[in-house]
Amino acid sequence: MMIRQSFIEMNARERAAALLDPASFRELLGPFERIKSPWLPLQGIVAQADDGVVLGRGLIDGRSAFVASIEGAFQGGSMGEVSGAKIAAALELARRDCERGRPILPLLLFETGGVRLQEANLGLAAIAEIHAGIIAVREFVPVVGVVAGVVGCFGGMSLAAALCTRLIVTRQARLAMNGPEVIEQEAGIGELDAADRALIWKLMGGEQRYATGFADDLVDDDAAAIATAVRWAVAMGVEAEPRSRQISQYMARLAAIDAQHPPTPVALRRLWQTDPVA
């Protein structure tokens, strides 16, 4: 009998290794390379030696892959110049290798609040380069994303998750463009009470996202289960019309929504429920 091993309790490095084929993980630009944030120490913030992203190459079911695993415990997994560059650079090299006939499967583990505000415009620029990287490689190989929690996936990185060929989530995950605090700040507490945890998961939690078609698989917080889901996602291959290209479908769905009387989260599940994917 398999003993359940919490994926969420693992750090970024453990998660990366857990999802690749056993013993196949080889770290790139690891902490001993010491490519750190040039900007955090200027503000008296202690930098992490890998800037909060673990990059590695390895195998998924024997196929060449790379994994970019964001460390949510360091600065909320936020994207700074270096952490963002690591992910973008890996996607760019994967695209280059695909063009040369050596496909590499990208696996992105999202645990991020979005842009690191202490690096602001460089974080934002790096995220734009991540988007470009996903779009450029996605025609060759499926790009698989995982949002597990506890941080979730917010800000510009929520767009990156939405660009993935397939997205795997847990119930503990959250996926949204704006974090609850920011919505409350910008739109007022009447719009969203950032302290209302139950409401937040109803709007943007993993189960809701899966039930309304924004994620492809909902998996237990269990490393083996997530690894299986990743292998399924990879085996399904490239998608001719990924979610971010389903324009007519989404415009039709939205046209049917009454903006003056929008559906509740539960009602939206009935409206947008997608067929369980084989």
Partner: protein, 97 residues
Amino acid sequence: MEVLRYKYPAKRHVTHRAHVGVVGSGDLEVLFEPSTDQDAHVLVTTSVDGFATIWKNVLDRFFGRYDYVASIEINDFGATPGTVMLRLEQAAEASQA
């Protein structure tokens, strides 16, 4: 943010480098490598100022038990002395594995 440096005489050989931990709230990361000379060297970058003596106490105790000729880099985000010792021990053990 404070940067502290320490040097210790040491004897035991470091087999290979090791890394443990995360620079998260109440935690630290330790980069543990063979030293380039005969002494052990420690570089501490910590988010909490004014604890130089406490760092020295912890490192004195660590090198008293694990006198590895190591070059140690610590990036700390407010860990307790107990957590610091734990991470140092984890790194030392991982380096011999």
